[in-house]
């Protein structure tokens, strides 16, 4: 445990000289390794001679982070009374990423300099973002996706007067629009972020976040379907949301009204397609049961 951390220290110390433009990071480190690195050593102190001091590192004051948690990204049983599961981001990560998101992303975009500046604001060392894992920028974008998704319920309750009068499809349109509007402060950098999340190593996180967002929107809209349409509805909304998000990055209209019209058109099309499929299914089912009943009325024993 101590020696890999020490090796990483020397790597991080080397990177100080190269910051903020370096992108050569140990790609082999997995997320659990990153978490243990955060907890094993304070991120505010720089070990001067890492290799020789590696044995004494446990003596230093540990940072005030909770114990390492598994990266919780799967949506399972949602308890209505028990406390929610912990965030996949530790307290230290949340502080750093929130600072970067609110203060520096609008000017510097989803880049390493934003994270470095955020670390300086918190009087941390410039190397601190390297504790976010093999790709700090992707982690920052994931944090944006996570926070916007988890603040959607409170956003929905703020607009409960608008939502209450709507049908389920109307609620879905409004909730999707509310979520899109959350991208407004960082919209000029969002194309860049989407490009990062489209990298093969980030696709699983991005797809999972998208699926959970679609599920969140359907839950908040009060949809109660528990048959195969559970899957088709969420898949359709995921596709529509991703398309609308991309559309929004090039939308120059006042208040992104073009994006909203785009979103409405796509949802309308999905609804029409779903209605057509449902009608065909109903017709087939009705004809089949009518045919069976005709045969039964003729005395066939089926």
């Amino acid at each position: 445990m101590a020696s890999p951390a020490a090796v990483n220290c020397s790597g991080a110390a080397r990177r100080i000289l190269l910051l903020p433009t370096t992108t050569t990071q140990p790609a082999t480190r997995s997320f659990p390794g990153r978490l243990s690195a955060v907890t094993s050593r304070p991120i505010t102190t720089l070990p001067s001679t890492p290799r020789t001091k590696s044995k004494s590192t446990p003596k230093t004051q540990p940072p005030t982070t909770p114990p390492p948690q598994p990266l919780q990204t799967r949506r399972t049983y949602h308890s209505t009374t028990h406390p929610p599961p912990p965030s996949p981001f530790t307290q230290a990560e949340t502080t750093l990423l929130t600072s970067a998101l609110t203060s520096h992303i609008p000017t510097h975009g989803f880049t390493l300099p934003s994270l470095t500046l955020a670390a300086r604001d918190l009087s941390l060392l410039d190397i601190s973002p390297s504790f976010l894992g093999p790709s700090p920028v992707a982690r920052l974008i994931h944090f944006h996706l996570y926070t916007t998704r988890t603040t959607l319920p409170s956003l929905a309750s703020q607009h409960s007067d608008l939502l209450s009068g709507l049908s389920v499809s109307g609620k879905i349109e409004l909730l999707t629009w509310l979520r899109l509007k959350q991208n407004e402060p960082i919209i000029q950098h969002w194309q860049q972020a989407l490009a990062v999340m489209a990298q093969p190593s980030q696709v699983p996180v991005a797809v999972r976040e998208l699926a959970m967002l679609a599920d969140e929107i359907y839950y908040l809209a009060g949809d109660k379907s528990v048959d195969p349409s559970w899957y088709t509805k969420r898949a359709a909304l995921s596709g529509i949301y991703a398309a609308a998000e991309l559309f929004m990055t090039t939308d120059k209209s006042e208040g992104f009204q073009e994006t909203r019209r785009f979103l409405r058109r796509r949802l309308q099309e999905a609804e029409e397609l779903g209605g057509a499929v449902r009608s065909v299914g109903e017709w087939v089912g009705f004809t089949a049961s009518a045919g069976v009943n005709v045969l039964r009325s003729k005395g066939v024993r089926i």
């Binding site: 009374t81 929610p84 528990v226």
Partner: protein, 242 residues
């Protein structure tokens, strides 16, 4: 409405007749039937409860429980739906029994549908497959005759009863661990356990009905029940995961 004790006693009698049933499958476990006075200690309703956050594995377990139960009840309603017309064509006097069993299964399905929606559990992805297989099973056994249809009910309900019992045991274990650690047990779980107990008892009641209506006279009984029970176990195993 028969009491759970009588049902379990009947199940034990069945064990001695032919098929290994619930009690012989789980000989070492404690009973999941509550003792007569009260199923859980009466908890004060108003003060804020000290509830323990569910762990990842517990949430996984609960998800798979609700998913497999919904799939099972869906299959049960479809089996009875498909069985009813061919059986009633031959034995019209069975109409009240078939309706009673169907109504109970439809109620169970409604319960699990609402639980799945409430707790945001993903429904089984093989929903269409289970629908087709269950309809096919119900219809084909009904065409083979009343005895075969009842043997199908007997086999399915035997597996389902044991399956619910295993779930109740897991939940009781989880709840008693919370109690041992000094946490409260919310209504969410006391209600879930009592719902599962009620449904298990009703499924065992169907088992009684099936045996009373000549399920054991089906030819060949051992083959029918053996195949159907193996199929049930396989379906349960898959539904818990997919």
């Amino acid at each position: 409405m028969a009491s759970p004790r009588r049902l379990l006693r009947t199940a034990r009698q069945l064990t001695s007749i032919k098929t290994p049933l619930l009690t012989s499958q789980f000989p070492r476990h404690v009973s999941t039937t509550p003792s007569p006075p009260s199923p859980s200690p009466p908890s004060p309703p108003l003060p804020p409860k000290n509830l323990k956050p569910l762990t990842e594995s517990q949430r996984e377990m609960l998800s798979s429980f609700l998913r497999v139960n919904q799939a099972g009840e869906l299959a049960a309603t479809l089996i009875y739906t498909a069985q009813t017309p061919p059986i009633l064509a031959r034995e019209p006097h069975l109409r009240p029994l078939m309706k009673h069993m169907y109504d109970q299964e439809a109620d169970h399905l409604r319960v699990f549908n609402s639980l799945i929606a409430k707790h945001r559990v993903r429904p089984t992805a093989l929903y269409p497959l289970w629908s087709v297989l269950a309809t096919g099973l119900g219809w084909s056994t009904a065409v083979m005759g009343k005895e075969a249809a009842m043997a199908c009910t007997e086999a399915v309900e035997t597996e389902i009863g044991g399956h619910y019992n295993a779930q109740i045991r897991e939940l009781l274990k989880m709840v008693s661990e919370w109690e041992a650690e000094g946490y409260d047990v919310g209504e969410e779980f006391t209600e879930l356990i009592s719902t599962l107990r009620r449904i298990r008892d009703e499924e065992l009641e169907h088992l009684d009905h099936a045996v009373e209506h000549d399920a054991q006279k089906a030819e060949p009984h051992w083959l029918l029940t053996g195949v159907i029970r193996a199929g049930c176990r396989g379906a349960i195993w898959v539904s818990e995961r997919v």
